[in-house]
């Protein structure tokens, strides 16, 4: 994507002169693939300077950045200090490099202290190792915990079987109950904990650590008691030993229950409302969330973001601005009332003219946007007509009575594609979507729609509504998305009202504001159905 945009800038610079004279037809687009704005009739005689503050245009000319408004040369007899010089500060194309330009997982290039606080002790170097280490410890601990009751029961049989009292019915009953409880524990653990983690959080997950610590403490206590009291003394009361093992299984089941509550159930009751605002284009949404730590809330928000927010198309933001930061032409001041000492009037007139031009420029943005919307609508209408016409050409084999060529869906798609190719290309170009759709992809999509008997509108939906961000990740088939969490409090702390934190990925920044949902106090009001009588008063008399 980056390389594409560099090419665009070069092209736009070279063909600038051509574009100046090609604007008779307001409907036509450029033949160049990428166009940052329509050069309409009005701009035919003006020089267009693309003020894109992108770092990629470092090779561009910076010629038209400084303008001097001067008094006309014939008044050179006047003093020098009446020359009004206005300089537009040169647009340093590199100024963007000094601000936060973090992409991906780079956590060293930022000058933000906040980023450093949020990173915590673990650096990104040992990050993956620590994640797998934690998982390993958890796995080992759980395994030991699962096998401990069985070990408790088996060890006496191995070590001092002859001294043990024989196992009677109640003891065997305990075996049955222990095996069933272990089975249930196994199923519960599998259902709850054996899931691929959806996200990797920067800090340790406090609840999980608590659970593991609890399991560890239990195990240590039980084993200690077992070794000291039972193994060393070679206790022959087998029934007691089995009872002891069953109590450990019970304790594990209860820990599992606490785990379910802490990890899954506690945050279901919503407590906070989060407002998520996306930075470059200002899209926002509100979500309700329960009591969570900041990092877990951030992970949850990201899931919703990929489903709810539309794809961020950076090209769309630049559409109407092609005329905004434009020419500041030299003003020539002509005095029609005759010569005289009128420098004050001169300066006033120039100021008034430049102010007027500034106002006109602001209006231009509004008209540009309206114009763009109208153009999109027109292209869209044409596209829909073309698609519907194209789809009528296809008929299923058994419905068609004539002897025509038999094709499979891909061939059918290829045969009707040319009739809507032009309208589709134009629409994609105007909505700046053409990088996402190659011809093969379009034909593949068309073939799918044809083979499932979808209508033209269903086929067009993929282009008319680009959809949420998950479509984009699906298209590029990325397995892992890197996001940065910027927060002024430690991210394993719970959410608090009126806090804010940010999620960043390259250009896209999601600012999250936390708001507490108020406590609702409801009063009951009896509905008096007996007193629900009315009279009609058409004649009202009022005293004044």
């Amino acid at each position: 994507m980056d390389s594409d945009t560099t090419i665009q800038s070069e092209k736009s610079n070279h063909s600038r002169k051509n574009r100046r004279y090609k604007n008779r037809d307001t409907d036509c687009d450029d033949d160049s693939d990428y166009n940052y704005g329509r050069r309409g009739r009005r701009s035919r005689n003006h020089e267009n300077s693309d003020h894109e503050p992108s770092r990629r245009r470092s090779g561009m000319n910076k010629s038209d950045r400084s303008v001097t408004i001067q008094t006309p040369p014939r008044s050179e007899g006047d003093d020098r200090d009446e020359v009004i010089e206005v300089q537009i500060l040169p647009q340093d194309d590199n100024w963007g490099d000094n601000t936060t330009a973090i992409t991906g997982t780079s956590d060293r290039s930022s000058m933000d202290d906040l980023t450093r606080i949020a990173k915590g002790i673990e650096d990104s170097v040992g990050f993956d190792c620590s994640r797998y280490f934690g998982l390993l410890v958890t796995g080992i601990l759980s395994f030991i915990a699962f096998l401990s009751p069985i070990a408790f029961v088996v060890i006496p049989q191995i070590m001092w079987a002859d001294e043990l009292f024989p196992c009677d019915t109640s003891c065997e009953g305990l075996f049955i109950s222990m095996s069933f409880k272990l089975l249930i524990l196994a199923i519960g653990s599998w259902a709850l904990f054996f899931r691929k983690p959806k996200s990797t959080l920067p800090r340790i997950f406090v609840f999980r650590m608590t659970l593991m610590a609890l399991v560890f403490v239990f195990l240590v206590t039980y084993w200690l008691f077992y070794c000291v009291r039972i193994v060393s003394k070679r206790d022959s009361n087998y029934y007691g030993i089995v009872l002891y093992a069953v109590s450990l299984v019970d304790a594990l089941v209860f820990i599992h229950y606490v785990g379910v509550i802490l990890l899954e159930l506690r945050q279901l009751q919503t407590l906070y409302t989060l407002k998520v605002v996306r930075s470059p284009d200002g899209a926002s949404k509100f979500y309700s969330v329960g009591q969570l730590s900041i990092q877990r809330a951030a992970a949850w928000i990201l899931e919703q973001y990929y489903r709810d927010f539309s794809i961020y198309n950076p090209h769309l933001l630049r559409v109407p601005t092609s005329r905004i930061a434009k020419r500041l032409s030299n003003f020539k001041f002509y005095n029609v009332d005759g010569p005289g000492n009128n420098t004050a009037e001169r300066s006033r007139a120039i100021m008034a003219a430049s102010a007027h031009q500034r106002d006109a420029r602001r209006n231009e943005r509004f008209y540009e946007e309206e114009d763009y919307v109208r153009r999109v609508k027109k292209r869209r209408a044409r596209l829909e007509v073309a698609a519907e016409e194209a789809f009528t050409h296809i008929k299923r084999l058994h419905q068609d009575n004539g002897h025509h060529q038999i094709m499979n869906p891909t061939e059918a798609a290829q045969s009707i594609f040319p009739s809507l190719a032009r309208a589709l290309q134009k629409y994609l170009r105007v909505t700046r979507q053409q990088p996402k759709w190659s011809v093969e992809k379009i034909i593949e999509h068309l073939a799918t729609c044809i083979s499932y008997n979808l209508s033209a509108k269903a086929f067009l939906e993929a282009f008319l509504q680009p959809g949420p961000c998950i479509v984009e990740t699906h298209r590029v088939e990325s397995k892992c998305e890197n996001w940065e969490l910027v927060s002024d409090t430690v991210v394993s702390r719970p959410l608090k009202a009126d806090h804010t934190f940010q999620l960043r990925q390259g250009e896209v920044m999601l600012q999250v504001f936390v708001m507490k949902t108020p406590h609702f106090r409801m009063f009951e009001e009896a509905y008096d159905y007996k007193d629900n009588k009315f009279t009609l008063r058409l004649q009202s008399e009022t005293s004044v």
Partner: protein
């Protein structure tokens, strides 16, 4: 005796608030005109009560008068609420009414 714009003969009465105006009105374009006791199916504003000794009586207002104008504002096509609002403006200490009666119309 004067004439309103539409040519109906009327009387000009000025009532000074003391503290109210001292009469009651009924009628209006949103009311049911078939029950009008003074003039059936007339949707105008009518005077239904005049407080004895009040400012309205002093000004010469009578029961059954139809008010045509209040301080220059036409109320022949006004809703009841609007007429009340015009009459009870707090800023004005007196109201100038143009009223008509059947006796005037008949020419007595």
């Amino acid at each position: 005796m004067s004439f309103v714009g539409s040519g109906i003969p009327c009387v000009e009465i000025t009532v000074v608030k003391n503290p109210g105006l001292g009469f009651s009105i009924a009628g209006g374009i949103d009311q049911d005109a078939s029950k009008n006791p003074f003039s059936t199916n007339d949707k105008g504003i009518f005077v239904t009560k005049v407080a004895s000794g009040g400012p309205a009586e002093l000004g010469g207002l009578q029961v059954g008068d139809k008010i045509l104008e209040v301080n220059g504002y036409d109320v022949t096509m006004a809703t009841h609420k609007h007429a009340v609002k015009l009459l009870s403006k707090e800023k004005e200490t007196q109201v100038m009414l143009k009223v008509t009666r059947p006796s005037i119309i008949r020419g007595r």
